[in-house]
């Protein structure tokens, strides 16, 4: 694990953590009772979260495969979360065994899980960076120890930006994304998905309130706000779309029948 000097190893497991709440929704066992409690409370007001979590995982897999098949050999995944099979490096390295993958997360426990359990191919590289998405300078500097930023990189923030606020909230998520994209070489990919209030506003407002009350600010975004993340980039077909609809495979088409998932997804190429 690469850690910036003096990075605090803050671990507070008395409050729910979004990565472990997510793990519970995915049917994982790396969560504690406080996480399960919040996961259940949100599930009660927004019945889409279980399929939403699965849909995000599947989107990450399809988008990663798309990037790898397009020839990209370097991947930077920010907000990795608790390992869930198949993981990003497994998808990338199944297409290209020499693919280099860097995982970044700000939570030391989450990152140690990734470090212990996400082992790549011998030909490829799988590295772990302990840093916060709000600190692009650190993430980019540490990722550059493994990745060559003069060559294309697939940068993914899957189901992460809804935990980051706007400029008025002190995070300036659009500014952050611009910093990351500016650091990428032409031909790089940006892979994003995030919760939107557009499709089921009442349920999402309640879910957001539960997150906020548990100490995790939550920022669902309408289409125009999500679209802005891709400014200056070329969206790949079919553009921005509810997450199951992004280049669906038969399993995703079948899953769509379960009902809506209030999450937008998109993949774009840097010209």
């Amino acid at each position: 694990m690469t850690t910036p000097e003096g990075a605090p190893t803050r671990v507070d497991t008395s409050r729910p953590h979004p990565a472990r709440v997510y793990d519970w929704w995915l049917g994982g066992k790396d969560n504690y009772p406080v996480d399960e409690e919040l996961a259940r409370r949100i599930l009660a007001v927004d019945g889409t979260v279980l399929r939403g979590a699965r849909a995000n995982r599947r989107f990450m897999q399809r988008a990663t495969r798309t990037a790898a098949e397009a020839g990209i050999r370097q991947f930077l995944d920010i907000g990795t979360g608790i390992p869930t099979e198949p993981n990003l490096h497994q998808i990338a390295q199944s297409v290209a065994p020499d693919a280099k993958v860097v995982y970044a997360d700000n939570d030391p426990i989450v990152l140690r899980h990734a470090q212990a359990l996400l082992r790549g191919t011998p030909e490829g590289t799988t590295e772990y960076v302990h840093a916060d998405a709000r600190d692009p300078e650190t993430i980019l500097r540490l990722a550059a120890e493994s990745l060559d930023f003069t060559r294309p990189v697939a940068l993914s923030l899957v189901a992460l930006t809804h935990y980051l606020g706007d400029a008025t909230d002190g995070d300036d998520v659009h500014g952050l994304l611009k910093t990351y994209v500016d650091a990428l070489a032409p031909g790089s990919y940006l892979v994003l998905s995030q919760v939107t209030p557009d499709l089921s506003p009442d349920a999402i407002a309640k879910a957001a309130e539960h997150f906020r009350r548990s100490g995790t600010p939550f920022f669902p975004r309408p289409l125009a706000e999500f679209h802005r993340f891709f400014d200056g980039l070329e969206l790949l077909g079919p553009g921005i779309i509810p997450v199951y609809g992004w280049r669906p495979e038969p399993e995703d088409v079948a899953a769509q029948a379960e009902g809506i998932v209030p999450v937008y997804a998109g993949v774009a190429r840097k010209p």
Binding site: V11, T13, L117
Partner: protein, 287 residues
């Protein structure tokens, strides 16, 4: 919290839970299932809890009563026969206490084994010489050298799971004490043992982290324990912890979660797997 004296195999535990789910899905109470079997409802409970081994005729009657289609019944019967096969460790029954055979079954079926070891190298990573030295020190008078050899053989046989196809992931946190405490006056025993740890940490399915002295106290102040996770999603994680004359197998959500939380705090605070290799190598060169 439950103390088991009998030792069901993991397969039996899974099938017992599955029987319970099928009964509940059929909307039947234990009493009603018991009526179909002409037994007391306590027997149904014991079957579901894997406290007694599954009898094939029982499985037939119960699944038919639950309206399970015939081909699924046949599959269930096959699985039952498989689960009822005695494990390889039965041939060590002379030295294997009942309370430990469940442990051997669990570790053999687990997909992930996480453990915390404050005193000694985890059994699955011990060399025969290290194991022998620890056992000789740990048995107080009433075990002869032959029994010690049998224990060492059992331990080495358990280690085969690490070299089988699709081995489990073994993720251990050892206290620095483990590296510091020689188990023998012969320095080679420790050197070989620490080399073994270094070799193991190169394999893709073993992660070793040291909780260093310099990081001060940590939450692992209790006895050593292990957490087993299985490929079957319906099986809860299980925690195993030993005391002088027996062991506890914990599978309640709250107790397992507390152990998981301790392991997670320790993994965040302990040296990284990479740094751990350097620490082990330094100690190795000191013996």
């Amino acid at each position: 919290m439950s103390e088991r004296r009998a030792a069901p195999t993991v397969g039996q535990v899974v099938l017992g839970r599955r029987l319970q789910e099928l009964r509940e899905a059929a909307g039947l109470k234990r009493e009603e299932a018991a009526r179909a079997l002409r037994v007391a409802s306590a027997t149904v409970r014991r079957v579901e809890m894997a406290e007694v081994s599954l009898k094939i005729p029982y499985v037939h009657v119960l699944l038919t009563a639950y309206g399970v289609p015939e081909d699924e019944v046949a599959m269930f019967v096959d699985l039952t026969e498989e689960a009822n096969e005695p494990g390889w460790w039965q041939r060590f029954s002379d030295v294997l206490p009942d309370w430990f055979s469940m442990h051997v079954s669990l570790e053999g079926s687990a997909r992930l084994i996480r453990s915390y070891e404050p005193h000694f190298v985890p059994g699955l990573l011990q060399t025969p010489e290290y194991a022998r030295a620890v056992m000789e020190a740990g048995t107080i008078g009433h075990t002869g050298p032959e029994a010690v050899e049998r224990h060492v053989s059992l331990r080495m046989a358990r280690q085969k799971l690490l070299t089988r196809e699709h081995p489990p992931h073994l993720w251990v946190i050892i206290d620095e004490t483990v590296l510091r405490r020689p188990v023998s006056i012969d320095g080679k025993v420790m050197r070989d043992q620490l080399d073994r740890l270094l070799d193991a940490s190169e394999s893709g399915h073993v992660t070793i982290q040291v909780a260093e002295f310099r990081d001060g106290p940590h939450p692992g102040t209790s006895a050593p324990f292990e957490l087993f996770r299985f490929a079957e999603p319906e099986l809860p994680d299980m925690v195993y912890t030993e005391y002088l004359t027996g062991a506890l197998y914990l599978d309640s959500r709250r107790e397992v979660a507390s152990h998981l939380e301790v392991l997670d705090h320790m993994t965040a605070g302990a040296a990284s797997a990479q740094r751990t290799k350097e620490i082990i190598a330094e100690y190795r060169d000191g013996y």
